[in-house]
Symmetry: C2
Subunit: 191 residues, 2 copies
């Protein structure tokens, strides 16, 4: 039997999956919850995705593509390296604040929930972080970075410190850790 | 009916719960899995803990008390502030490496999994982070910290950057992010 390929259904499943997995986590989001939220029959899920893991990897990819489309261009816009990097993370923090800090970063959430138990999702997480790191490193290389600093290394440390700030922001439901990261950690790491 | 109070059973439940919740997460660890691993009848779980959430809060408390007992003394031992802080986080990274980076930090794991869905666990997480931050801030105040730096603020940023490093360490199963945090982020934040 040929697989159905209604792009609209696939899109609805991914959007519903993003909402659910982002807010509840992977284990707590059942396939039936996802198909109910998307308004499609449960059986159609496996017509579009071979497994729930493959589905979560696709959700993660869509999550990152959205950030890449909306926010990564900031890294290559006007201003000094520090200004552009600060503006990028500020916009990301705005996303978190718009959800009242209840969702956090999907990349961070899935990293801690699934890195030990799902190889396909772990591979997707690693790929997304590489893309994110490359974007930051390209920005760092375009500017006044000191010769003794390594752009890839700083990009990794920025992402890691930001994920930690987002973790605390989700825990205390506050912008404070994000502001602290912007005001103090970014300058400290670029100094 | 009076609640049973065999401290040995309570201890076995907590130890089994720590293993399971640390490796699989909260949602993926069923009460039956926990009682099976502890070798006690399922019914006895609720004789010791009013809910699975209360149980996870107790597991988290035990997890932190273990770190507090073994590792926090390093913060108040010999050496400069930077040496003591580096040694503390190094020992914590040793714990993660001993588990082949499969477990990560229970505090980080539960923060991202449950901050939006469980108030009792969120309260316990906030309390643990406050205790951790106080220990680090006391260490910072005991040394040569610059007058314009705020000890509580730096303590928070150290914890957040470390949680982010641990998140990536779990994802890529490697000591690299921990080493990077130790060699570069700690000095940058204390500078």
């Amino acid at each position: 039997m040929p697989r159905p390929s209604n792009p609209e259904v696939r899109k609805r499943l991914l959007a519903a999956g993003l909402d659910l997995i982002h807010s509840r986590g992977f284990a707590a989001s059942g396939v039936k919850d996802i198909t109910d939220a998307a308004g499609v029959p449960k059986g159609s899920f496996y017509a579009y995705f071979p497994s729930k893991e493959a589905f979560a990897a696709a959700v993660l990819d869509a999550y990152w593509i959205d950030i890449e489309t909306r926010l990564v261009p900031i890294l290559h816009g006007d201003g000094s390296v520090q200004e552009r990097i600060t503006r990028f993370f500020h916009a990301l923090a705005d996303d978190h604040e718009a959800a009242n800090f209840l969702l956090g970063c999907l990349i961070g959430n899935l990293s801690l929930e699934l890195s030990s138990s799902s190889e396909p999702i772990r591979a997707q997480l690693i790929s997304v972080l590489e893309r994110w790191g490359s974007g930051l490193a390209a920005c760092l290389r375009s500017g006044e970075l000191r010769a003794d600093l390594d752009a890839d290394d700083i990009a990794s440390r920025l992402i890691e410190a930001w994920e930690g700030a987002a973790l605390r922001g989700k825990m205390i439901r506050s912008r404070i850790p994000y502001d602290r990261f912007e005001a103090d950690t970014i300058p400290a790491l670029l100094r």
